[in-house]
Symmetry: C2
Subunit: 131 residues, 2 copies
């Protein structure tokens, strides 16, 4: 079962501009900035004082994420729920929903897996397990 909302992913066309905007408006602090080639994004994790976080995602050229941005524009992209054991959760959930990832894979900060939004009322949910 899910323990907490880990972060909310936000798709943007320009990471530096978006970071400045969120810093300026809401006082978030940059926790990390990293390129995740496997996911086709340059990502920034922005922390709020009490722990919940935002993640800004700028697609790498030619990636699937670049197509998503072109098609849908900037905006909310996914919710990440932290769990103790992604593999175990995938086993439990596979009977209930359609999985994008049948096995956990490396994410920005641990093992992750995505669930298909058509199974969850249009919401893309990522499960993450800290390692």
């Amino acid at each position: 079962m899910a323990k907490r909302v880990d972060h909310i992913g936000i798709l943007v066309s320009n990471l530096d501009e978006a970071i400045k905007l969120y810093e300026d408006c809401f006082g978030v602090e940059i926790e990390k900035i990293e390129t995740v080639q496997e996911q086709g994004v340059k990502a920034a994790v922005l922390a709020l004082a009490q722990g919940a976080r935002l993640e800004l995602l700028e697609p790498l050229p030619g990636s699937n994420m670049a197509k998503v941005l072109e098609k849908r524009g900037e905006g909310l992209h996914h919710i990440t729920l932290e769990v103790d054991d992604v593999d175990k959760e995938l086993g439990r959930l596979s009977e209930r929903v359609e999985l994008i990832d049948k096995k956990p894979r490396r994410g920005l900060e641990g093992m992750v897996a995505f669930i298909h939004p058509k199974s969850l009322r249009g919401v893309l949910i990522e499960l993450c397990q800290k390692i």
Copy 2:
């Protein structure tokens, strides 16, 4: 400045079905179910063990939210950031972004105000102040 992510709003066409789905998949617990006439929605707040929450929103017939659902379909709708003083934050933010609400108004659990998504990279952000 924002203290924490209070909840993530998810627009759905049928609240009861969506609640069952999220209970079944992620072990969330129903914190409250309430109709907010002013916002044109029936809303359910679902809590996760460690405090972060999801909010499912089913539009009332004929409301603006019903038009949003018709146009965009189900999916992520907004992020809510908790602040100490919504009115003060609106004053500070009004120079930086376009506000939907120039003054705080009653929300599900306190005073709230929305910022226009075109100012925030396509993300609808709600500020909330607990009362």
